[in-house]
């Protein structure tokens, strides 16, 4: 028995390494894509991270939360603010965005320490998200309100990041690092604890796991990831507006998680890739975005509740998440 298992294990492991090929192949994209397509691909990476972050809270942890657009906006605005008023370059502003996103996650979830859960937590995150949007609009001296806050020349480590190609490679590195880091965390006691809390908080606590702390940790981590996505978004659009982080955006985030697969890291990537092009397309027709994404989520809930990744998981075990390592 012991002699057979290593062979099976190592071939599985080898298969999992296939995922490393994806960024390598992706690195070739700039050679084939024009500027508009490149811009789209960059946006895809932004939304992959948005979805990865959001999925941690609503998928893995299973808590309904509406603060995602707040984290996104905070990351974007913080980047713009740090670059404008503190003269930071992108790589430093990025760290600022991650930290502020994490702090926002902490604030949004701190009531979990007192035992706030479920719809109470959902409502307080909704209030938090809307409050932040009000702040972007009204703190005009800092954020320029609805005029939008432009970014000064975006540079990273001294090199200009103005071209879509430059942005692409920077985003690619960031995305790979964040996804890998998230995967490390999920394939560990942290990832298991989060899933356990989703299943049954009381039982989890009886195993000695401090559930409130892990709930907050998930929000902080999610906030940081989405904050980083916000920084990338700001660098991509080079001007930050409050409308980008409003209620229409909320349903887009939900849809990406659900379509890809709630609770699955690979699902998050799928959801981000599949759906990103659509918001851009629909922006021309008022109301279509909300209509379309609403319909998509309902369709998923009724017919494919575990998302596209569940279809892929039937084909190959690679797409079934494991929460341990050996």
């Amino acid at each position: 028995m012991n002699q057979e298992t290593p062979k099976v294990k190592s071939s599985l492991m080898q298969n999992a390494r296939i995922f490393y090929l994806v960024p390598l192949v992706a690195a070739l994209i700039p050679f084939f894509a024009n500027d508009y397509l490149q811009f789209m691909v960059n946006m895809i990476m932004v939304y992959v991270l948005v979805t990865v972050g959001f999925n941690l809270v609503i998928g893995n942890l299973g808590q309904l939360a509406f603060a995602n657009t707040a984290f996104f906006g905070i990351g974007a605005y913080m980047t713009a603010i740090l670059m404008n008023y503190a003269g930071f370059t992108f790589e430093i502003a990025l760290v600022g965005a991650a930290i502020s996103g994490g702090l926002a996650g902490l604030l949004a979830s701190i009531t979990a320490l007192r035992g706030i859960r479920l719809y109470y937590l959902a409502i307080i995150t909704l209030a938090f998200g809307e409050l932040m949007r009000w702040v972007y609009i009204h703190a005009e001296s800092v954020t320029r309100g609805t005029d939008g806050l432009p970014l000064p020349d975006v540079t990273v480590f001294g090199m200009s990041m103005h071209s879509e190609t430059a942005k692409f490679y920077v985003f690619l590195v960031i995305t790979v690092l964040v996804v890998k880091g998230t995967s490390n965390l999920l394939k560990s006691r942290v990832g298991r604890a989060i899933l356990a809390i989703r299943d049954n908080e009381l039982t989890t606590a009886s195993l000695g796991i401090s559930t409130a702390n892990y709930i907050i940790l998930t929000f902080v981590w999610s906030g940081s990831v989405v904050g980083v996505a916000g920084a990338m978004f700001a660098a991509s659009t080079e001007r930050v507006f409050p409308e980008s982080f409003g209620l229409t955006e909320v349903i887009v985030h939900f849809a990406m998680v659900m379509v890809g697969g709630a609770g699955s890291l690979i699902g998050s990537i799928i959801g981000g890739v599949v759906l990103t092009a659509l918001p851009e397309y629909f922006r021309q027709f008022p109301g279509m975005e909300e209509l379309f994404f609403g319909v998509i989520i309902i369709a998923v809930l009724l017919f494919l509740p575990k998302g596209l990744v569940s279809l892929l998981a039937k084909v190959s075990p690679l797409f079934r998440e494991r929460y341990y390592r050996e």
Binding site: V190, S206, G208, W221, R322
Partner: protein, 254 residues
């Protein structure tokens, strides 16, 4: 043998309902103490009160000399009192191995930043944990199921996994709630063997709720009998077997 667990005058009175009245007894290290009584006698309430899910309205509970009544389940668990649940407390979306690993959680030396940055120390701690979980499963002959989703297991197998998970937490005191219910006869026998081994070899103290009197008589060191929330007898199996009150309480039970 010192008193590991000491209950003194524990009562639980819900509005009008007297679930437990003045229950007192001790449990010693390394022994199997069975809790028996007719349905509704208050056995599960007693477990709930010891493990912090229910507050006693009177009385004290001491574990290793420290008072634990009034603590939350998490706090009681942290002190070393662990329990299993009647309706399975396994995590449905995980595999058997992952479930056992949640039992090892507090012993794994990996933290957020170590994992995030991919340090060797964190990675090795995690791998060692997986190996240990497989060994624990092997102890109970359950290692073949390690990579299966718990949902696909039978009730008896799930119960076994739950016990392995609880053992993984290395509890000084283990509360087992009807571990043999619904198990096939060979599995029941194995369950009792496992319980005796845990107490005898590993020195774990086990408090057991069980209806199967044959298992209780064969496997426990001492027995406490409850009826209508009160303790009516306490002693070794052969003493309890002869006890008049106990026989009356069980009139109708084989």
């Amino acid at each position: 043998m010192s008193d590991l667990l000491k209950l003194a005058g524990v009562s639980v009175h819900f509005s009008g309902l007297k679930a437990l009245t003045e229950v007192s007894f001790d449990a010693h290290a390394g022994e199997v103490l069975a809790l028996i009584g007719p349905n509704g006698a208050g056995k599960t309430t007693l477990f709930n009160v010891i493990s912090g899910y229910v507050q006693p309205t009177a009385g004290e509970i001491h574990f290793k000399g420290e008072p634990i009544q009034g603590l939350t389940p998490h706090e009681v668990s942290a002190k070393g009192v662990r329990r299993t649940f009647q309706n399975g407390g396994l995590f449905g979306d995980m595999t058997v191995l992952e479930n056992v690993l949640t039992g090892l959680h507090v012993q794994i030396d990996s933290n957020f930043f170590g994992l995030l940055l991919g340090t060797r120390k964190a990675d090795e701690a995690e791998r060692a944990a997986a190996a240990r979980a497989r060994r624990l499963l092997a102890l109970m002959d359950m290692d073949g199921f390690a990579d299966q989703q718990v949902k696909s297991l039978s009730g008896g197998q799930q119960r076994m996994v739950e016990i392995v998970r609880t053992i993984a937490t290395e509890p000084p005191l283990l509360l087992l709630d009807e571990p043999a219910v619904g198990l096939s006869p060979p599995m029941r026998a194995r369950m009792m063997e496992v319980i005796k081994r845990l107490a005898g070899e590993e020195g774990i103290s086990i408090l057991l709720i069980e209806h199967a009197i044959d298992l209780v008589m064969a496997g426990s060191d001492r027995i406490v009998v409850l009826n209508s929330g009160q303790k009516i007898a306490e002693g070794k199996p052969n003493e309890i077997r002869e006890n008049r009150e106990v026989l009356e309480a069980y009139l109708g039970y084989a």
